[in-house]
Every structure is written in C-alpha cells, then in structure tokens.
C-alpha cells in the first residue's frame, strides 16, 4: 500500500436527528486504494455505503475528515471521477448518443459536433450498443440503459469509476455479461474502481479488495479482504478455485453474524489500521472466528483441487 491513489482520511457523516440530537452514520472512517485497483464495498442496507461513495464522488461533503485523490484533497465533483448510478440516471429526453455526447461535450467543451459524436460512438460500440444510438432511454431494456450509463462514465476517460450497485436491478444473465464487460474494460484501461454491491459473487469476481462494513448507525470499516483469486479469473469457473469457498464463507459469515456483533466484540478496533485479511495465507490472516474455515479451505489440505 505504498501508492495511495485514493485516501479517505477520517471522514464522518452526521445528520441532525430528532429533538436536536445528531445521528452519526459513521465516523473516523479510513480507507485507501492503490491506482488501478478494483474495490468492492459490502455491508448491510443503510450502513452508509452510498454516503461514502457520494463523498468520494464529491456529490456530498463529509461532516469531518477529507478525501485525498492523487495527492490532492477533493472539493466537489470532478470529471476525473465518473459515477455509474444505480438508477442509471440517463436523461430521458436525449438519445443514447445524446446522453453519451452530453458527457463528452462537457469534458471537451471546444470540440465540434462531429468530434463529440465520433468519440461518443467509440464508447457506445465498446459497450455493445452499436445500432441503438438514436433510441431514447424509454426504448431500452434495463441492461441496455445500464450500458449507456457505463459508456457515459467511460467516455470522459476518468481516473476512477464509482459504481453504486450498478447491476442490482438486472437479471442474472445480463448482470453476468455486464460484469464481464466492466471487468474487461477496467483491466484494459487500468481504471481504479470503487463499487458497492450486495452480491458476494460479484465482489469475488470483480474485486481485488473487498471492504466489509458493519451495520449502522455508527458503522465501521471492519476488514479489508484481499481477493486470493488470480487476476485472470473467469466468471464461469470461479467456484473451482480452491480458495473460492473460503473467501465466500468468510464474507457471508461476516454479513450474517459478525457485521452485527463486530463493534462489541472488537473494542480495540483501530479504524486507521483496519485488519487486512488474506485468505489462504497462514500467519497473515487476521480475521477472528474464521480459523475453522481457513483450515478447511487451505489449498494444501485440498490436494484434489488445483488453482
């Protein structure tokens, strides 16, 4: 973790609650990501994932703390940080080309129409929407709309992509295809990506690092789980990897039980030094309560399975 491309430093978010009291969604949250890294955030509904993402995007300001991107504290939104919205957020009065073109012409204000069009077309082709350029969002399926959202985000060639449950409203098949595409594009373009998801398998397939958040209010970042699966993993044979179930069980175990009890069971949790869990690497694994799983799913103890 030498190259901290993104560094969230001690941010808090508070809302004025009923009768003058303030509700703290989270406080003293520290988190960092390296350039080109793909991170997924998992946590229960309402713990503050969207809030963190909005603060990263600059759409929302933290009550305390700061976000440093590429060595500079952010203030407000930036064309360097593209957002893919959960609800796709396409402008319904514009066509596919119009929506992508709007982003392109916002970034390069001096470009003429033809140049904007050609650039937008490249990214529409990239997400496989060639032929639907002149359709309006209402004429597209949910998956196609989300693709337009992805094309729009990519078209401004951002330094990082922020995704808030981008595929949660899609059917499994479309979701799979789009996951493949996002993964391919991010690897090809070396994007740094920050994605919120509720889908454990999605996180395992896409992420290099998985951030686990406890339940709110007063949510904390409990663990950072390193994905032990090789970078060139395929979605189809993900579950054949010897460490797949150990990783999956670790995350599910966290979601089912430890996300509730973590704060009380770990009183000395240091939010500035969140434990890094490396499944399958004995001695480095710091997670409590998963010894059994680790034992079971050590590669050495499963000679029948090969990576």
């Amino acid at each position: 973790m030498t190259d901290k491309f993104i560094s969230i430093e001690g941010i808090a978010k508070r809302y004025p609650g009923a009768s003058g009291a303030t509700t703290t969604i989270f406080e003293n949250l520290w988190l960092s990501m390296a350039r080109g890294e793909f991170a997924c955030v998992i946590g229960h509904s309402g713990c503050g994932k969207t809030t963190v993402l909005n603060i990263l995007a600059g759409l929302d300001a933290p009550s305390e703390g700061a976000v440093i991107v590429d060595g500079q504290a952010i203030s407000g939104t930036s064309l360097d940080r593209a957002v893919i919205f959960q609800s796709h957020a396409l402008l319904p009065w514009r066509t596919v080309l119009g929506n992508v073109g709007y982003a392109v012409s916002s970034k390069w204000r001096s470009w003429d129409r033809a140049k904007v069009r050609a650039h937008a077309q490249t990214f529409i082709d990239l997400v496989g929407l060639t032929g639907s350029e002149h359709k309006r969002p209402s004429e597209l399926s949910g998956g196609m709309k989300q693709r337009v959202g992805i094309a729009r985000a990519l078209s401004i060639t951002p330094k990082m992509m922020l995704m808030d449950e981008p595929f949660s409203a899609l059917d499994a098949l479309t979701r799979g295809t789009l996951q493949d595409e996002v993964r391919r594009i991010c690897l090809e373009t070396g994007q740094t990506a920050f994605m919120i998801t509720h889908d454990v398998d999605e996180a395992i397939y896409l992420a290099d690092k998985i951030f686990l958040m406890t339940n709110g209010p007063g949510a904390v970042l409990a663990e950072v789980v390193e994905n032990p699966l090789p970078r060139d993993r395929g979605r189809i044979d993900l579950h054949r990897h010897p460490l797949y179930y150990a990783l999956r069980n670790h995350i599910i175990d966290f979601l089912v039980t430890r996300s509730k009890t973590f704060t009380t069971e770990t009183p000395h949790h240091d939010p500035r030094d969140v434990p890094l869990v490396q499944i399958g690497k004995p001695g480095l694994t710091l997670a409590a309560g998963s010894d059994e799983l680790r034992q079971t799913w050590m590669p050495e103890t499963n000679p029948g399975l090969s990576a």
Partner: protein, 280 residues
C-alpha cells in the same frame, strides 16, 4: 383497428347529438303562426315576436344565416360600433397575446430563480399565496387609475391573470427536477447556466408548458369580461354591444366563436406540451 372504429363511432354519435340539438333548438324557436286579436299599432310595436308567435330567441337558421354574413365580411369597419367579427376577435387575440407573452417573459425566468433557490422560494411564498387568489378583474380599477389607458389596462389584467399558473408550475417543475439528473450534471462539472438549459429546462418543460396551457385558458376567459368592462373593441365588447342592441343572434355567434378560439389556443399549447414531453 379497434381504436379507429371507436373514433368513427364516436364521430357518428357527435353528429347525431349535434343534429338533435339543432333540431330541438329549431322546434323550440319556430313561429307558431299569426296570433289574432291585436290592434295593428300594438302589433307594429312588438314586431314579429308578438304578431307571428315567433320566439324572441333566434333559431339555428337565423344564426346560420347571420354567421354566413359575418364569415363573408369578417374585416369590415363602419366606425366604432360596427366592425367585422374578424377585427373584434383580432383585437382580443392581440391583447391576450401581448399580456400572455409578457407574463411568459416574467414568470418563467422568475420561476426558475425561485425554483432553484430555496431561500427565494420561502421568502416570496407569502406574496404569491396572497396575490394568486385575487380575481384579475379586481385589478381593473387600479390599472385604469394608474395606466389611464383602457386597452393597456386590459393587457395588464391578462398579464396578471396568466402569470400565476405559469409561475407556480415553473417553480414546481424546476424544484422537483430529479436529483439524479442534477447529479449527472454535477459529476460532469457542468456550470450553472449550462445546467439550467441542458438539464433543468428540459426536465421541467412539461410542467412549465402545463402551466402555460392553464394560463392561456384563463387569459381567454378573462379577456371577454375585461373587454366588457373597458369597452371600445374586442369580442367581449362586441357581446356587450350586441346585447345592448338586443341582437341575440350576434351574441350567440360571438359565444360560439369565443369557444372555438379558446379551443384553438388550447390545442396549440397542447401541441407544444406534447413536443417537450419525454417518455420515462
């Protein structure tokens, strides 16, 4: 297929209803033959109403004949009290148009400002709440007193009555633009002015146009009353003048034309509304 046959049947029913209405009207107002026993002087004084049992109400045939006369010569001008219907309607439409356009020029930019600023919205709300329910005609004496010109006063009354629906709809439309669309513009670092034109205006346009459509309807309702008050020219004045002339035929024709023009104005705005409406 089914929808076109439905339209055909609806059209047929409309024609049947119209024919029935005209028939009943005709029967109710036709002459019942000469009434007897009346001194010739009295009969002369009372005209056909008394002598031939003719109703004071003109029948559809009278109205039709008179209408044809007007249609053939819509723009004649024989002095202040005798102008073609086309001229009178033209005056009214010009007044409505002027007052309405002025209201558009004020209401939409102002509505934008109020809609985008919660502070202004709260600060101006009490004024709008008080001013909105005032009957536009109540402004007339004040307008006549300050402006001292009856025609401009009528335009002012149109302005004041058409401003509220447009203003309120613009404020509402602008204030309720979906947050996510604003966020899209924000993440793209779109400036305030460009954001207003590329996101807020298209998003609020259907609501604004709905307000404009309500306004034109109200303006057309009010102009007739306003012209009855200020006199001189216009379709409202025409109605009042023909009532003083006891020409019910002309009054009926004017009523018919007021309805038709009102419908046309509404249709024009409805077309604009459809143009800016986007399916979601």
């Amino acid at each position: 297929m089914t929808s076109s046959s439905l339209r055909l049947r609806a059209g047929l029913v409309s024609i049947v209803l119209l024919a029935a209405f005209l028939g009943i009207w005709h029967l109710a107002t036709r002459s019942t033959g000469a009434t007897t026993t009346m001194s010739p002087e009295y009969a002369k004084l009372m005209g056909l109403t008394a002598t031939q049992g003719k109703s004071a109400m003109p029948g559809p045939v009278d109205v039709g004949a008179k209408l044809w006369e007007h249609v053939r010569r819509p723009f004649y001008d024989n002095g202040p009290n005798d102008k073609g219907l086309g001229i009178q309607l033209g005056y009214s439409i010009a007044r409505v148009g002027t007052g309405y356009l002025l209201a558009v020029l004020v209401a939409i930019p102002l509505g934008f400002l109020i809609g985008m600023s919660p502070l202004l919205s709260k600060a101006l709300d009490p004024f709008i709440q008080v001013l909105k329910p005032i009957s536009p005609l109540a402004w007339m004496p004040l307008a006549l007193y300050t402006i001292k010109d009856s025609s401009i006063s009528a335009i002012f009354v149109i302005f004041i009555c058409s401003i509220w629906p447009m203003l309120l709809n613009t404020v509402f439309g602008v204030a309720s633009v979906r947050k996510e669309w604003i966020n899209v513009a924000r993440t793209l670092e779109v400036g305030t002015v460009r954001r207003a034109f590329t996101v807020i205006l298209p998003a609020a346009a259907p609501t604004i146009l709905t307000g404009m459509r309500i306004s034109i309807g109200i303006a057309w309702l009010v102009i007739v009353a306003a012209e009855m008050l200020v006199g001189g020219t216009g379709i409202g004045y025409f109605v009042w003048n023909e009532w003083n002339n006891l020409s019910i035929t002309n009054v009926i024709i004017a009523i018919l034309l007021i309805g038709v023009v009102g419908m046309l104005l509404d249709q024009i705005l409805a077309r604009f509304t459809r143009m800016v409406t986007f399916p979601e």
